[in-house]
Structures are given as structure tokens and as C-alpha cells.
């Protein structure tokens, strides 16, 4: 159970990163912000998606080991 909690906790971190970078990108677009800053926020989102994917793999392995 502790291991599962840790996996879930670790998944929330990249999700948090994605959420806040998406908010930033949206606000920058709304305010006509610099293109480079918008692209940097989107790249960060893409990077964190990879991290989420790895977290889901951990979750899959955990379920497989338990069943």
C-alpha cells in the first residue's frame, strides 16, 4: 500500500507541473506574451507528459506484481 501511495504521489508532481505550465501558456497567449516563453512552457508540458507515462508504467508493474 505504501508503495502504491508513493507511485500515486509521484504521478501528481508531473501533473502539477503540466497544470501550472498550461495555465502559464494560456495567460501568455491571452496577454500577447513572448513566443519563446510560450514555447518553453509547452516544452515543459511535453517533458512532464513523458514523466507521467513512466509513472503509469510503474503503476502497471505494481498491479502486475500484485495480481
Amino acid at each position: 500500500m505504501e508503495e502504491l501511495n508513493k507511485i500515486i504521489h509521484d504521478l501528481r508532481n508531473p501533473l502539477n507541473n503540466i497544470s501550472i505550465n498550461a495555465e502559464l501558456a494560456k495567460l501568455l497567449v491571452e496577454q500577447g506574451g513572448e513566443k519563446q516563453r510560450i514555447i518553453a512552457a509547452i516544452e515543459q508540458i511535453m517533458l512532464q507528459c513523458v514523466s507521467c507515462s513512466s509513472g503509469i508504467d510503474d503503476l502497471k508493474s505494481y498491479i502486475k506484481n500484485k495480481s
Binding site: H9, R12, N13, N16, I20, K26, L27
Partner: protein, 441 residues
């Protein structure tokens, strides 16, 4: 705007949140460890600290200790955590100046916290995970999505808004959402026009100078002054006496007001959101609001939907209200699907307010031995009055009234006999027997 300290070891989150809050006009400092955070709070005074608990050199709670001294007690703290269970720990250890957000967080949540003047803002997500749109509103139905879209649009302008909707739909909550979404610098000032005495209404709205009338022993600011650069919410606007409405009209037309006993007028700069539980048709036919004032107030009218127009949101709202009660009392009560269906089948004439009170009532009747809420009697005495006036009159037989009640109930639930039988309090078999009898006649 606020002085903010962000404490987190996730560099990507720190950089983005720092940029985001900077764009909103806040002054932001960052720290990636307990040591750096301690140094930051030592060097500078912050209005709010956003704190991650798991830091490379220790726990975020250690930073809280540095904020415990008297001169730091103005600093409010929001713990950003991945564990909902942290909430209870936070509440019991640190009291109201510390609250929490569960990852992932949104801009709406940050805005609500940083715009909160009282320091005890409700977080925009509760422990049961129900999301509050725009920091205040719950519901995923299409009518609510339309409402969010209208709020977002109007919040970008300075237009006056009139909120229409039945009693209990949450008009003040919507007004608050508009205020916060508009990023106004001033306060949200809510006032009820029905609560003013006729003699004091002008003083309440515009204030008075010392000695303006007998008993005016000191200067008093009116609600227009209090809401400067913010939002003034005038609830039950139609309760304002019709002969006093021209005073309000003049202020809205000239954007200036003069407090009682003053010699100079003062400019006003606030959005006025008014609210009434009358429909536009009633406003017109009952003559309780001057037409010219209506057009000044209702530049952008918004009708807040009743609860029965968004039955699909009832489970979410029930979960939220129950979550609040569980949290307050340290219980883990629940509502089973069958009971949720009962809630969805009822008409809610008192809307969200009635739903909240119904859940509270059932919560009181629940105990830890059977921890599921049971709704035995749904109904409002006010609804019965309305029905009696329209339907019941002397001179009809019981059979007639029974038949009409069954037909009306079947109509209400689109012919769903199981649901109708449950609402009528009879078995499905009895309902079928009655329907067959009526068909034979």
C-alpha cells in the same frame, strides 16, 4: 498585490508558477530547500508562502516553525501537497492561517488565495476532489458551463451585472466568482437591500458625515465607498423602495455620489452586481424596479440555473457538502447510489440551499454504526403551499386528486414508473393497478 514566497524543489514548477504570479502583478521569491526558505522568511516579510512538504533537506513543516514568531504571524501559508490526508494534520496543528491545495493546482485556486482579503479563503478544491470552477462554483452540466463562459466574458469588462434566479441558487456565490475572475483590486462588498430600514438606506449606500443628522456621531462610509475599485453586490434589489430608486439611478448615471451632509461629490469606480429572485417578466409586470434603473443595472443579465435544471450536478454537490461535513466532524459518512437517485428525483424548490440543509439534516441523523446517509423525507413546506394554492380545492373527490397526483408525477419523471412509485411512496404494483384502472375508465 501580494509578496509571495514559493518553496518547492521542482524547478519546472517553481519557474512556471513564479512567471505566472509575476504576470498577475505579484512579487515572487523562490526557494528550493528548507534552508533557503528559512533564510528568505528571515530576510523579508511575505503575505503568503506556498509550501511543498517534501524538500531535499527536510520537511516543509520545518519552515512553518520559522514563521511562528509574533512578527511573522501576518504571513499566511498554503501547503501544496499530493496527500489529501495532510489536511487534517494541518488543521489540527496550525489553525486557520494555514490551508492546503492538492496537486495538481490551477490558476483559479492561486487567484482565490491571493485575492482573499480575509486570509481564510476556501481552497478551490475540497478533500473529496470536487473541482470548483472559477474558484467558487460546482457543476459540470451544460447550463453551468454556459454560466462559467458568461462569467469569464463579463469579468473582463467593467459592465454592471444583474443576476436573476430562484431563491437559493447561489447568486452571491456567482457574484463572488465574477469579482475574483475580474482581478479587481478593491473589495467585494455584499449588501442586502431588503435589510435596510427605509430611513437609513441612503446612509447605508452613500455614507454620512459626522453631524449629518441626529445620532450621526462619527463619519460613516457607505457601501459604494467600501467597494471602491472592487465590486458592490446589491442583493434583493427589488426590495429597495421605488421612490428611493432614483437616488441609485443618479449615482449609476453620473458615477458620482455625495454622502449625507457632505458638500462635495466623490467619484465611484466599482462594478455593481445586483440580484433578484424575480423573473424579468415579473420585474416588468409587478413594477418593483424602475425601468431606467433596470437598464443601468442589467447591462449584462445572467440567469443562474435552478438545481432541477441541472440534476446531473446533484451527486457532485452532495459529495461536496458531505465532504465538508465529514471534514468538520472527522467522520467518513457516505451516500449510496440509491439515495443519490432519490436526491436526483426531487424538485428542489429551495435549490442548492435546500440541498445543503437536507444533507446536513441527514448527516445529523447518521451514526458510525450505519455510516450511510438516508433521506427519508424530502420536501419543503413552501413548495406544499404553492401546490395547495394551485391544485387543491374543496369539492373534489380523493380519487380525483389521487389520479391527478399520479399523472403529474409520471409527467414529471417522463413516464418513469419505478421512480414515480418511489416518489409517491407506493409499490410499483399499486401504481400499475391504478394506471390500469384509469385506462379502463
Amino acid at each position: 498585490m501580494a509578496n509571495v514566497l514559493l518553496v518547492d524543489d521542482d524547478a519546472g514548477f517553481l519557474a512556471a508558477t513564479s512567471d505566472l504570479l509575476g504576470l498577475l502583478g505579484h512579487s515572487v521569491s523562490t526557494a528550493a530547500s528548507v534552508e533557503a526558505a528559512r533564510q528568505a522568511v528571515e530576510d523579508k516579510e511575505f503575505d503568503r508562502v506556498f509550501l511543498d512538504l517534501m524538500l531535499p533537506d527536510g520537511s516543509g513543516l520545518q519552515v512553518l516553525d520559522s514563521l511562528a514568531s509574533d512578527h511573522k504571524k501576518q504571513t499566511k501559508v498554503t501547503i501544496i501537497t499530493g496527500h489529501p490526508s495532510v489536511k487534517n494534520l494541518v488543521k489540527s496543528l496550525y489553525g486557520p492561517r494555514v490551508n492546503y491545495l492538492i496537486k495538481p493546482i490551477s490558476l483559479d485556486q492561486l487567484r482565490v488565495l491571493l485575492d482573499d482579503k480575509s486570509g481564510v479563503a476556501e481552497v478551490a478544491q475540497d478533500v473529496s476532489g470536487v473541482h470548483k470552477h472559477l474558484g467558487f462554483l460546482i457543476g459540470e452540466s451544460q447550463v453551468m458551463k454556459n454560466l462559467y463562459s458568461m462569467i469569464t466574458r463579463v469579468s473582463k469588462t467593467s459592465a454592471n451585472v444583474m443576476l436573476l434566479g430562484e431563491s437559493g441558487v447561489g447568486k452571491e456565490v456567482v457574484a463572488n466568482a465574477i469579482h475574483h475572475a475580474s482581478l479587481a483590486n478593491g473589495e467585494f462588498v455584499a449588501t442586502n437591500c431588503g435589510a435596510f430600514s427605509r430611513e437609513l438606506i441612503t446612509s447605508e449606500l452613500f455614507g454620512h458625515e459626522k453631524g449629518a443628522f441626529t445620532g450621526a456621531v462619527a463619519r460613516k462610509s457607505g457601501v459604494f465607498e467600501q467597494a471602491e475599485n472592487g465590486t458592490l453586490f446589491l442583493d434583493e434589489i427589488t426590495e429597495m423602495p421605488i421612490d428611493l430608486q432614483p437616488n441609485l439611478l443618479r449615482v449609476l448615471e453620473t458615477n458620482k455620489f455625495t454622502s449625507l451632509g457632505a458638500t462635495k461629490s466623490v467619484d465611484i469606480n466599482c462594478r455593481v452586481i445586483s440580484a433578484t429572485n424575480r423573473s424579468e417578466l415579473q420585474l416588468m409586470s409587478e413594477g418593483c424596479l424602475r425601468e431606467d434603473l433596470y437598464f443601468r443595472l442589467a447591462v449584462f443579465p445572467i440567469t443562474v440555473p435552478s438545481l432541477r435544471e441541472r440534476r446531473e450536478d446533484i451527486p457532485l454537490m452532495a459529495k461536496h457538502f458531505l465532504g465538508e461535513l465529514n471534514d468538520e466532524h472527522g467522520t467518513t459518512f457516505n451516500i449510496v447510489d440509491e439515495e443519490i437517485e432519490k436526491l436526483k428525483g426531487y424538485d428542489w424548490p429551495g435549490n442548492v440551499r435546500e440541498l445543503r440543509h437536507t444533507i446536513h439534516r441527514a448527516f445529523i441523523m447518521t451514526d458510525t454504526e450505519s455510516p450511510s446517509l438516508i433521506f427519508t423525507k424530502l420536501g419543503s413546506p413552501f413548495k406544499n403551499n404553492v401546490q395547495q394554492k394551485g391544485v387543491l380545492r374543496a369539492g373534489r373527490t380523493i380519487e380525483d386528486v389521487e389520479r391527478e397526483l399520479i399523472e403529474v408525477t409520471l409527467d414529471q419523471y417522463d413516464g418513469d414508473k419505478k421512480m414515480a412509485a418511489s416518489i409517491l411512496g407506493i409499490s410499483l404494483k399499486t401504481l400499475y393497478n391504478r394506471i390500469n384502472d384509469y385506462e379502463e375508465k
